[in-house]
């Protein structure tokens, strides 16, 4: 199934998503990365922009500075998510973020907070940065510039995607399903032929 959705959104909207569905995003997406989340959660600093209902993107964009606090996108891509898995609970429970967009998936333990507090993991096509950059209309706001490029970025997007629901609110992970199936194939039909 395909979903068109505008962020920020509410919990009910993302509870509709099922692992394997495709999604196109309109509205706003907030860029975060390791350093941003370390500041929020490990240092306990309240983020200067609300994450409520937000779609968050794991990115450290390449930008050109236009003026005070104003930037233009040059090449914006997405980084591997697994290493940021531990922040999932805080993001969905305390900040009410509704989607995390990244590549490669979160660790399986992230399924619990996603299910309990209503959040989804949306997989982007990793490495497709040229396309991703054209889907970002404007960088509307940048906070914590001292963390450059791992600031808090507010992007206005148009037809952002396609994204694939990698982990849903029903405890299902497409990554896990694929892993389980691949290991089954190895055991049942591949190893015996080596």
């Amino acid at each position: 199934m395909h979903h068109e959705i505008t962020f920020p959104t509410d919990e009910a909207a993302v509870r509709e998503f099922r692992a394997g569905d495709t999604v196109t995003v309109q509205g706003h997406i907030i860029g975060i990365r390791d350093a941003t989340q370390i500041r929020i959660f490990d240092k306990g600093v309240e983020p200067p922009m609300s994450l409520r209902g937000a779609a968050l993107l794991h990115t450290a964009p390449n930008v050109r500075k236009l003026g005070e606090g104003r930037y233009e996108p040059m090449c914006i891509g997405t980084t591997t998510s697994a290493r940021m898995s531990r922040f999932t609970e805080g993001l969905v429970r305390d900040h009410r973020a509704r989607a995390i967009i990244g590549k490669g998936g979160l660790l399986p333990e992230a399924l619990v907070p996603l299910r309990e507090h209503g959040g989804v993991y949306l997989a982007i096509v990793g490495g497709a940065a040229a396309l991703e950059t054209t889907q970002i209309e404007e960088i509307e706001q940048v906070e914590w510039e001292d963390l450059m490029p791992e600031c808090l970025w507010k992007f206005r997007v148009k037809d952002f995607g396609p994204l694939i629901v990698g982990m849903d609110t029903h405890g299902e992970s497409l990554y896990e399903n694929v892993q389980v199936e691949a290991r089954k194939r190895l055991e049942e039909t591949i190893y015996s032929r080596l």
Binding site: N62, G105, L131, P162
Partner: protein, 299 residues
């Protein structure tokens, strides 16, 4: 006169390196384009097909906008074939490649990824201690120089694996290690890509060979028929695992498998795996002793 030749040639190599780094990031080789298109056409899994369509669209968008194919400008790796009669010493070539990398990074500008391993302090210009890394091959009775630039992204480089098997484990254990490594890597190295396998030698040589393997064109086949047969077999088996594009399921897990081998010690059986993502960027220059340069996207 000799000094002038050296200075000019060094500048030529530096300019070539600067050009190759930027060019490789924007304009991927035809064999890779063909492989990505072919994968898109043959993939039967719905999600996998959608991902491959997006990858192909992304390649076209990068062409139209003259933008980078992927945001990760990588660690610059150079593969150099140096003729015995080429009138520039390797020490000068090394300087030129380093300076070309630095200039491309600052002038384009490109994102710099290079940091000190302990302090994590960035250098800001994509060069550093022993970086860029250069693979050398020396060719007797030849006066040319071939330089190939491969910017290596971290998502795929993080999926590198080494195992010191014992000889009694045999070839089947080599195959099993490659399969387990790629299945375990799942979507992290941005599949479908090129799997480089190095067998034999010592631990360091096996990994070095795996890295040489990913530098070959997608459709390149090892000239040794036994090694070529192993490449073919691994390619087919890996694509039976169903890992698929981005690890989200499908028929296309890898675009190709390249194996490189060296002789080894009678009691050693090393195997190394190095992954190159779908954005397998690569560009080459053939430099002649008179300073003329032929750029080559396909070598």
């Amino acid at each position: 006169m000799a000094i002038d030749t050296t200075t000019d040639l060094q500048q030529t190599v530096e300019d070539a390196a600067a050009h190759l780094y930027v060019w490789s990031l924007k304009d991927i080789p035809q064999d890779l384009r063909d492989a990505l298109r072919n994968a898109m056409e043959t993939e039967t899994h719905k999600v996998g097909k959608r991902i491959l369509e997006t990858i192909n669209t992304n390649v076209s968008v990068a062409d139209e906008r003259q933008n980078l194919v992927c945001q990760d400008t990588g660690l610059a790796v150079y593969y150099v074939r140096l003729g015995e009669l080429f009138p520039l010493h390797p020490a000068r070539i090394e300087q030129a490649l380093r300076e070309g990398t630095r200039r491309a990074t600052l002038e384009h500008p490109l994102r710099s990824n290079t940091v000190h391993t302990l302090t994590r302090v960035p250098t800001g210009d994509n060069t550093g201690h022993k970086i860029p890394h250069i693979h050398w091959e020396f060719v007797p009775d030849w006066d040319g120089l071939d330089v190939k630039c491969i910017p290596k992204g971290s998502g795929s480089e993080n999926m590198s694996f080494l195992k010191m098997l014992v000889p009694a484990d045999g070839v089947s254990a080599i195959k099993r290690f490659v399969l387990d490594s790629i299945v375990g890597a799942g979507g992290k190295p941005c599949p479908p890509g090129i799997v480089g396998v190095g067998i034999g030698g010592s631990a360091d040589l096996a990994m070095h060979l795996a890295k040489e393997a990913i530098a070959r064109p997608v459709d390149d086949v090892n000239p040794d028929p036994d090694v070529a047969a192993l490449e073919r077999e691994l390619f087919e088996l890996l694509n039976e695992t169903g890992i698929g594009p981005m690890g989200l399921g499908g028929d296309t897990t890898v675009l190709s498998v390249h194996v490189e081998q060296a002789h080894t010690h009678i009691t050693l059986n090393p195997v190394a795996v190095n992954y190159q993502c779908w954005a397998a960027r690569r560009a080459s220059a053939h430099i002649f002793s008179d300073g003329t340069v032929d750029y080559d996207r396909e070598a």
